[in-house]
């Protein structure tokens, strides 16, 4: 299952913490160059642990991780130079200025100073006006953007965003996604976690779902939606029905409580979702309808179902 196009490859990764708790179980995952990969999972699933293992914060108990071909343990210098990390926790040096802390990060990652680049970065993140402010004077959302600026300060090829939008208002969130789009255009590979599933639905190329330390699914987003998505057809009736006529009966077809609607839930990938057939049968029964409506289940519903199923 090795992928030549993989910028990150994770093989048989295990992590058992000193407490004895096993947070990751035999994770195998390839992240493709230039993609936006969304890692979803409930609280405590192991998302942060997985990211920490790649970035050098968590020492894996077993397995191998490569970033652009470099072993993250043995060739840590080459591997880490490629990676930027925005942590989940808002950890900042309160007494430092925004400018100083972002410049510090660039140096720490081995890059010579580049004030013009840092300026552009701070402007992109709407932090330019705050460049001289001490970090403790900033709001939570601003601090999160400072962390993003720090992570991007050394122009990484791979960016990990561990819940970047937690506590960020709608406007700024939109701005942040614009920036992420811009990074992708430049070829930056992005791995993000989020609890806002609709964000993943909008943004991601591929989705991974982790639950209780196990990677339960990795799939192209569209394939996933098509494969797991259920479609629902609602037929609004002119006259109410008293229960479902036997002639109409088929899997997943129900009458609403007030009798004014029929809902038919079917799997997208099933063969026998014969809508035309249903229409003919309605006609034959003399049932007239006012309107039709179809709806496809969202990633959130898919996700909730997946996690529920496995736990």
């Amino acid at each position: 299952m090795s992928d030549d196009n993989a910028i990150i490859s994770i093989r048989n990764l295990d992590k058992t913490y000193a407490s004895g708790f096993t947070a990751l179980k035999n994770i195998n995952l390839d992240i493709r160059r230039g993609e936006l990969f969304a890692l979803l999972g409930p609280n405590g699933a192991g998302k942060t642990t997985l990211i920490g293992s790649v970035c050098g914060i968590v020492t894996p108990s077993g397995g191998r991780i490569h970033a652009n071909g470099y072993d993250v343990v043995r060739d840590y210098r080459a591997a880490r130079s490629l990676i930027g990390l925005v942590p989940q926790e808002l950890a900042t040096d309160g007494f430092e200025s925004v400018w100083a802390t972002v410049s510090f990060s660039r140096g720490l990652f081995g890059k010579p100073p580049n004030p013009a680049y840092i300026e552009q970065l701070l402007r992109d993140l709407s932090l330019w006006d705050k460049r001289h402010a001490r970090i403790m004077e900033l709001s939570g959302g601003m601090k999160r953007r400072v962390l993003i600026a720090k992570a991007l300060s050394h122009e990484p090829e791979i960016l990990f965003l561990d819940e970047p939008t937690a506590g960020v208002d709608v406007d700024l969130r939109r701005g942040m996604w614009e920036m992420v789009h811009g990074l992708r255009k430049r070829g930056v590979t992005i791995i993000l976690t989020t609890h806002y599933i609709e964000e993943a639905e909008d943004m991601a190329d591929r989705i991974g779902v982790i639950n209780r330390g196990e990677l339960v699914l990795v799939e192209d987003k569209h394939t996933l939606m098509a494969k797991l998505g259920k479609k629902q057809l609602t037929v609004y009736l002119q006259d109410p029905l008293n229960g479902l006529p036997a002639a109409l009966a088929r899997d997943g077809l129900e009458v609403s409580n007030d009798g004014y609607a029929l809902t038919w839930t079917y799997d997208l990938h099933r063969e026998h979702n014969d809508i035309a057939g249903l229409m003919r049968d309605l006609q034959a029964q003399g049932i007239h309808f006012r309107d039709l409506h179809t709806q496809q289940s969202s990633l959130e519903e898919i996700f909730v179902e997946l996690v529920k199923e496995r736990s």
Binding site: G56, T59, R77, A78, A91, T92, F95, L108
Partner: protein, 253 residues
């Protein structure tokens, strides 16, 4: 070698000192001055000379050492403890830096501060007592070696500590007593013979003795042994730090 990283860490740490100038520079200088006033000028004038050196002058090297040790430890331990405490350590752990580079940055900054501090204390002492420095290069050598060694030691304490109490317990409960009992205020041959032997197990004795030798040419133990013991302690600290990072001790989970 990630020179940019070393420079970034060093600058960051020096900037931190800049913000806490009162605490990290002014307060040790003032408290040491008080010692000079009380022991050097007031009491010292009634004390007999030790090894032909006036008491006020005799205590100068020991007092400089006292500040050097405590300040090196507290500066270096604080420097690495704070990122652990605030969580910003994640960045250091995820950065392409080696143990050596981290040490050069943090310990280099802490040692620089100590050297500046030691120099300031010596300059201040001049206002109260008259002393000479017979071997200035050795004096400088001991000043630098001690600052580096105890900054390394402080770094270890900072990594080891998981609370503010632990951070302060070693300087307060171990280093200060050892320094007071290490001949800061007396020559160890003023002690009863049994205690002279016991004292030789106190590593600080070697530091103070060597340092004092560089001032006045007299010492409790041969200067070569002093230098060797200090260097040995330094190597031990480096080894411990290397081991800590290799195993991720208290840093990586």
């Amino acid at each position: 070698m990630n020179i940019h990283a070393i420079r970034a860490i060093y600058r960051f740490e020096m900037a931190r000192t800049g913000r806490t100038l009162l605490q990290s520079i002014a307060s040790p200088v003032i408290s040491t001055s008080l010692y000079f006033v009380v022991f050097g000028a007031a009491i010292g004038s009634r004390m007999v000379e030790i090894d032909g050196i006036s008491y006020g002058a005799f205590i100068v090297p020991g007092l400089v050492m006292l500040s050097l040790l405590t300040e090196s430890i507290s500066n270096a331990s604080f420097g690495i403890y704070m990122p652990k405490y605030s969580g910003t350590i994640y960045e250091l752990l995820s950065a392409p830096v080696s143990v050596g580079e981290v040490i050069l940055g943090y310990v280099g900054a802490a040692a620089s501060k100590s050297i500046i501090l030691g120099t300031l204390i010596l300059a201040t002492a001049r206002l109260f007592v008259d002393y000479q420095i017979e071997h200035p290069l050795w004096m400088l050598g001991f000043l630098v070696l001690t600052s580096v060694t105890f900054s390394l030691f402080g770094f270890i304490i900072g990594v080891w500590a998981d609370g503010f109490e632990k951070l302060q317990i070693v300087p307060m409960m171990v280093v200060t007593p050892l320094t007071f009992l290490g001949g800061s205020f007396y020559s160890i041959d003023m002690l009863p013979p049994v205690w002279q032997t016991v004292t030789l197990f106190n590593p600080v004795v070697y530091l103070i003795s060597g340092f004092r030798w560089s001032f006045y040419g007299v010492s409790d133990v041969p200067v070569g042994i002093s230098a060797a013991m200090t260097a040995l302690f330094m190597l031990a600290c480096v080894a411990v730090i290397h081991r800590m990072f290799a195993t991720g001790y208290k840093l990586r989970t």
